[in-house]
Subunit: 405 residues, 2 copies
Amino acid sequence: MALIVQKYGGTSVGNTDRIKNVARRVAEYRNRGDKVVVVVSAMSGVTDGLIKLAKDIVPLPSEREMDMLLATGEQQTIALTAIALHAINVPAVSMTGAQAGIVTDGVHTKAKIHNISPKQVHDALDAGSVVIVAGFQGETKDGQITTLGRGGSDLTAIALAAALKADLCQIYTDVDGVYTADPRLVPGAQKLPEISYDEMLELASLGAKVMQSRSVEFAKKFGVVFEVRSSLNDNPGTIVKEETKSMEGVVVRGVSLDKNQAKVTLVGVPDKPGMAARIFKAIGDATVNVDMIVQNISHGSGSPATDLSFTVDKPDLLKAQKVIEGLKQEIGYKEVLTDEKIGKLSIVGIGMKSHAGVAGKLFETLANESVNIGMISTSEIKISVTIDLAKGEQAIKAVHKAFIG
Amino acid sequence: MALIVQKYGGTSVGNTDRIKNVARRVAEYRNRGDKVVVVVSAMSGVTDGLIKLAKDIVPLPSEREMDMLLATGEQQTIALTAIALHAINVPAVSMTGAQAGIVTDGVHTKAKIHNISPKQVHDALDAGSVVIVAGFQGETKDGQITTLGRGGSDLTAIALAAALKADLCQIYTDVDGVYTADPRLVPGAQKLPEISYDEMLELASLGAKVMQSRSVEFAKKFGVVFEVRSSLNDNPGTIVKEETKSMEGVVVRGVSLDKNQAKVTLVGVPDKPGMAARIFKAIGDATVNVDMIVQNISHGSGSPATDLSFTVDKPDLLKAQKVIEGLKQEIGYKEVLTDEKIGKLSIVGIGMKSHAGVAGKLFETLANESVNIGMISTSEIKISVTIDLAKGEQAIKAVHKAFIG
């Protein structure tokens, strides 16, 4: 008898027929004697619909109220999933994030899990019930409803698996597993039977779309081995775990394209110490995550000034822009430019550590496709470049062909 | 400076434009210095949509899970209303029923308010915020989400007004106040400037559609004077309060038609003691409210048997039927008949206590319209009859004309 945590995303619970399918899958595990905890997202479209309502009222609604609003999406799914399990005679009880004991900090719309006290979950499991937990949400110590941000339901599942010491954690999604590239972009992409946390981390943070990096980091930190697999079939998925010797032979494990970044450029930032610190402190205080940062060398006549570029998630662009505009007096830069039409292309692989010439081959491949490179950033196991969004798909196909086949 | 509780129903918050209107009205009161607590319902259509989803899965979903599901409707509205207030620079904070301290018993879908500990509400009001509370819902001592049943948001408002010792409680709806009959059915219906709790209670419980009886009972018990008025204009509404001398001069205050009842008839119930008690105990245990009960005299040859009829709210019909069918062995009745095609017509007035011949005039009026009378039930201040639903509107028009004009 195993304790299994399963997570189903918005597409897997997108309508009542799919919810019934989820219930049947859960029932299979439960009826062979496993204890099952199910984490669900909002039905696909629900969250977007709620965001639209709020933005109809005001472009930048209060984050506390957005949490109050959006937390309802998952709450609806847990109730419907419990009802679907009852309909096939499986005892089940739904729990909000708060009821499942998920305590977070108070950073609304991007809360971090502080601790989990899953007493009610254990009680219900011991009583023979399947437990359905609302993903993406928690509660502060003071009882304020919070949400965990994008990919929050994965995080809920992995954190619950850690807290419950689950034997298995399955992330059900609409793809079969982790591929060498997004199969929707690169038809020749291949499914990976396993991948290391670090590789997954780079792929996740770089827009492979399967999972957000926070969840993978959390899994790595707590040693939660998890499987990414499809809710639409019974194919085995991709196991994500600590790296093994055999993984190092592959130079590039995967290629990704992130279309969800936007670039902000501050033109003419006075070239004196403390400028960058001031800017990124203010952006951090507004809880906007910055990804790539590039600063060009000083140029121009008169007082020395530099151009500073960085990327943020597209939904945060407006907020980042507001912060930057608020600093205009203080910093004295010349102007702000933004660009939503960028794509970030990355190659990832543990094997890069021990193989030279990878960057050169990447740049050459892009040059052959007449793809211009904007920003560049590298780590031990990845290389990322920003390119024109319109050329993104052409570029990822070529890069995949060059490195993987 | 007054403390005002305002309640807005589903139509008043039916879309984002209407929510903005509500915000403007709330802001008027708040900006003249009043403390305002706003209770809102789910946006019209939302609750029905959720019920449909659940019933797509199974006809009789678990009541605990229905509460989990339906409580999200009001939670969405409170967030959107707070956002709309922020947009016009009014500080506002939303609270779920639980956060507002509304503690209920554990009877899911029909919970009763046990007590209210509005500490968070007081704190937020003292900090200068408008407080937006989710109507229709609460939480048990154990943290289970409950809902209060039909008309629950009115109850939330009146109970909060009592707990907060509010100076004024306003129930905003889509009608101008309480009329001598539903103006949608009887064009000549007149608005009443004031009405007693008891009259309102009879009208409410009899389908006047303005408010559910529980809320009026609660207001009567705690002496909460409230005003029923329109959210679409600034007309004064109807004040509901203790009866006054001047009210007694009017024989019939109002005429109502309840289309939401269904009739259950048990044919051939053995005529021995304890049968009725057994039946209505079982129905009560299933938390189905019974309204009218009529038992005909014994008939037939062989062992004596009676026919027993009662009415329930239409949505409870299936549940009532299941209970009755479960008792077939034990009771030994012949068969169960149900009829959803009934209307209950009632006339209400404190003045009836001191005026004779009211029943005779009612029956004569119906006879003149060839409307057949089914069940009859009377109290000191009302007379109700069931009639064919199809003749309901014709009948109420005639009865209004006969008694009120």
